[in-house]
Subunit: 198 residues, 2 copies
Amino acid sequence: MRILLADDHPVVRAGLSALLAAQPGFTVAGEAADGDQAVRQAAWLEPDLVLMDLQMGEGIDGLEATRRINALPTPPAVVILTTYDSDADILRAQDAGARGYLLKETPPQELFHALREVAAGTNTLSPRLLRRPALLSQREIEILELLAAGRSNRELARAMFISEATVKTHLAHIYDKLGVDSRIAAVRTAVDRRLIRL
Amino acid sequence: MRILLADDHPVVRAGLSALLAAQPGFTVAGEAADGDQAVRQAAWLEPDLVLMDLQMGEGIDGLEATRRINALPTPPAVVILTTYDSDADILRAQDAGARGYLLKETPPQELFHALREVAAGTNTLSPRLLRRPALLSQREIEILELLAAGRSNRELARAMFISEATVKTHLAHIYDKLGVDSRIAAVRTAVDRRLIRL
DNA sequence: CGACTGATCAGCCAAAAGGATGACCCACTC
DNA sequence: GAGTGGGTCATCCTTTTGGCTGATCAGTCG
């Protein structure tokens, strides 16, 4: 299986490269240090699979790169491999057409296994991520993300085209579910519990 | 130079291991996947230098591990190698006795150079980190960290043994310096500008 | 010494946020 | 077809927060 690595950290690329090279059946077809490179190399090298980081310094991020790769004529499978896991990220990754979402903390053997699964046509998620019931609704997560950006209730209302009263209702529900009583504690808890990412 | 790697991500350990092994003058003496292992291996292997991640899943973190390693009879130099950089982290790392603070995004050549510097007795910081003037006072950073934990002004006052009026004054100064006008925007901006970390 | 910064505190007022309650609509399920 | 959950909105009231002004005190630095 020919794999393209896309990660802005040289250390991570070297690590994946070394681990994959030592594994029968895997070949590293190329490495990309940012999103644009990833798209270009995916088009040029036509790998079977792209291992994609979400956060990559400058330029387009892994999510946008995934979207563009999936718009190629015969797109390779894209598997997200990232340090962070938040519900919001995972949902967006699926929307962008990612075929898997793995964490960098994944033991190498599990990682290889997951890649083979994806190559065989299955979608895959880090086991830890599967055991996570949706705590908040989609709308509530939207609220939280704007909240985390530092917006006031009035700004939230305008941004979401709803009344301030509704914003407050959503907030009350969020506080209730998270067991907090202020917007700042809600953001903190949501980040800790991987519901959103800053 | 015999180096001990301490990082909970197998991928990162493999990457550093591969990069260092290919570099003349560097030997990987061992690998640790958490803080406790790091301390034990530092004592047992007596490396010349420890490359230490700050965030390591379970158990003691890199900071505490650094402290304990420095308490050993003939402690090796400890260099922090982490993804995150916040003023608060850097200050604490120095207090814990770290001899350097590097970011994982550092290009390998720079990394090797920095390690040689440290081995030669110099302390080192990622160049990006040196160009950062102290924006907030120590006290203000304390406030921000409690703020980020979701505390109210009253709680802040109690926790810091000062009056609520003083908390408000500090907050006003912080808002002023960060160019924001609410606690939540202050936390967000502080995180973005690496003054604190969540 | 005087100027400056950082930390401390106070009082006043306006704006924002939070708590409680009730209500309506829609989609889905049992 | 009654119940459930999500989304929407409103009112009333309390607490919290933020803006403003002004003040004292301890260091530090020319």
